[in-house]
């Protein structure tokens, strides 16, 4: 294993121990790779297949099935606006449009400085506090344009952690 370090493999072994079959650790381990690398590189899939003893084709099929697993990296901050029905009714489309306008990019795009990627996602399950969005997986709810401005300002100053 050249791609994964000892630490990852030790953790991965513990994940395998939760299941009666090693192959069941595939999704949690893909999730771990996504968390650490920001996407699922080809080398990671090669080595996961060998590590778990599952066909390489299954690893790509599984990685391609789940929307949270990305094939390529996003910007430093990935903002995902919810397009579920409750967020839609609470002004989600206007929020997404404002976000795109403020960053000068289209949905799915990344700012030239690599700071922001924006996309829309299906219902986030935050319908009681709509509209909602995610920044690198963290929920921000009851959003409006003022809250969006404050959020973008914080992100530009690297203050996601302090929120």
């Amino acid at each position: 294993m050249a791609y994964f370090d000892e630490e990852f493999l030790a953790k991965a072994e513990k994940v395998c121990a939760r299941y009666p079959r090693r192959g069941a650790a595939l999704l949690p381990l893909l999730g771990q790779v996504q968390k650490e690398k920001g996407f699922i590189p080809e080398e990671a899939m090669d080595e996961l297949a060998a590590f778990l003893g599952v066909p390489r084709s299954r690893v790509s099929a599984v990685a391609g099935f789940y929307t949270m697993l990305r094939g390529s990296p996003a910007g430093k901050y990935h903002i995902q606006t919810c397009r579920g029905i409750a967020c839609h009714m609470a002004g989600g489309p206007a929020l997404s449009a404002a976000l795109a306008r403020k960053l000068g990019i289209e949905e799915g795009g990344t700012t030239p400085d690599g700071l922001f990627t924006i996309s829309s996602v299906e219902c986030l399950g935050a319908c009681g506090s709509a509209p909602a969005l995610l920044v690198n997986g963290r929920y921000f709810e009851n959003m409006d344009e003022a809250a969006l401005d404050a959020l973008l300002d914080d992100l530009r100053h690297g203050r996601l952690e302090r929120r």
Binding site: R18, Y19, P20, R21, G23, A24, A25, L26, L27, P28, L30, G31, Q34, L52, V54, R58, A61, V62, F65, Y66, T67, M68, L69, R83, G84, I85, A86, H88, M89, A90, G91, G92, P93, A94, L95, A97, V121, E122, C123, L124, G125, A126, C127, G128, S129, A130, L134, G137, R138, Y139, D144, E145
Partner: protein, 423 residues
């Protein structure tokens, strides 16, 4: 029993949960024996809160008691249906009840391992649950030889990664096994051949959280609230144009009017009610008049032509365009169809396309009929009911709000306000 047993205050921490009587029901269950536990839950009339309302005790009894080898208990916390946000609240406010319910269910079916399938986006909740599991292990409520009874039971978290279909129980099992989350044909049912080929019970998190109080206070106590066909309390998650959206634990059978006016503070800013999806994005719509006359339980909603589903109540106000809203649902189901069955894969895509055209004013008069027959052709023809989850709301929208669809098809733009404004 008009009290809250699921969303109790201040029980998120294990010490507080224990102080409030928590983890004693497991001890009681262990002294009763498996058959008596299943009998008690059956007698309570508890029905599954994941959408289908299947009687919980009966589901447990389907696990062959004489089967050799392992069995599994799976808690479904995938919560992906648009409008649903109850399990997230439950996991935050009362995680120990979910764990204790799993241990009791595990004991009843003879499982020594349980998994919680939690939707991938709920990362904060996953961390919180991991800590809750660790705390329960440290106190000896999970792990080997629980409370000296000889019963072993442990729980692991399995996080999803963004796929609504994985909430469907057989897709969920495939997803845990490390496969794509595609539903499997039933039979065999999971109770006979489920996770890793072993007998498995899949229950919603809310269903499992109701179990400890049933064991503690008895089936008769539980059945004394709610309505005869729908005992107990239910988490209703209300979204849309109401003053106080949120999760409310109320007895089943509560009138929709009371839910709206008393609990949710009425319609937002005095707007008028137009329609309600009473059981999430997969339930047929009720008109305002139908909704104001209905009680929120399995039988009443079925009689009104809809369903209780997951208890996700989506409130739609006068002025909303139903073509646009159905388009939002179709886009969702198109994106989430696993693609296995042609009627679902093609039907969701076609409905989405037709609705996008109608919404944009590019529709043709025949489109409404095409949409209707497309939806009709999607029902009951697939491995899992995801296709029906679009088809049933679609048919209800078209039949109850036909004029809006026809106006769009005639190329007229809708006078109803869209979602393009901030509320």
């Amino acid at each position: 029993m008009n009290e809250r047993t699921l969303l109790r205050d201040n029980v998120a921490d294990i010490a507080a949960y224990f102080a409030a009587g928590g983890w004693r029901p497991l001890k009681k269950a262990l002294s009763m024996g498996r058959a008596a536990v299943i009998a008690e839950v059956t007698a309570s009339g508890l029905r599954g809160r994941g959408g289908a309302g299947f009687p919980t005790g009966r589901k447990w009894s389907f696990v062959p008691q004489d089967a050799q080898g392992p069995r599994y208990l799976v808690c479904n916390a995938d919560e992906g249906e648009p409008g649903a946000f109850k399990d997230r609240e439950l996991l935050r406010r009362n995680p120990q009840a979910v764990l204790e319910g799993m241990a009791i269910a595990g004991y009843a079916i003879g499982a020594s391992l349980g998994y919680i399938y939690i939707r991938g986006e709920f990362s904060a909740e996953a961390e919180f649950l991991t800590a809750a599991i660790t705390a329960a292990r440290a106190k000896g409520f999970l792990g080997a030889n629980i409370l000296g009874s000889g019963f072993d039971f442990d729980i692991h978290l399995h996080r999803g990664a963004g796929a609504y279909i994985c909430g469907e129980e057989t897709a969920l099992l495939s997803s845990i096994e490390g496969l794509r989350g595609q539903p499997r044909l039933k039979p065999p049912f999971p109770a006979v051949k489920g996770l890793f080929g072993a007998p498995t019970v899949v229950n919603n998190a809310e269903t499992l959280a109701a179990v400890p109080s049933i064991l503690e206070r008895g089936a008769a106590w539980y059945a004394s609230t709610g309505s005869p066909d729908s005992p107990g309390t239910k988490l209703f998650c209300v979204s849309g144009a109401v003053n106080r959206p949120g999760v409310y634990e109320l007895p089943l059978g509560v009138p929709f009017r009371e839910l709206l006016e008393t609990h949710c503070g009425g319609m937002k800013d005095g707007r008028k009610l137009k329609a309600v999806l009473p059981g999430g994005a997969s339930s047929p719509a009720l008109t305002a008049a139908e909704a104001m006359a209905v009680n929120m339980d399995y039988a009443s909603l079925a009689a009104a032509g809809s369903m209780l589903g997951s208890g996700a109540v989506i409130v739609i106000e006068e002025g909303r365009c139903m073509v646009e809203l159905l388009g939002v649902l179709a886009r969702f189901y198109r994106h989430e169809s696993c693609g296995q069955c042609a009627p679902c894969r093609e039907g969701c895509a076609w409905a989405d396309k037709l609705l996008a055209g109608l919404e944009a004013g590019r529709g043709r008069p025949s489109d409404v009929e095409t949409l209707r027959s497309c939806a009709a052709a999607m029902t009951g023809r697939t491995i899992c009911p995801l296709a029906d989850s679009l088809a049933l709301p679609a048919l209800s929208f078209i039949s109850k709000f036909r004029a809006e669809f026809d106006a769009h098809a005639a190329g007229r733009t809708c006078r109803a306000a869209g979602g393009g404004r901030l509320a």
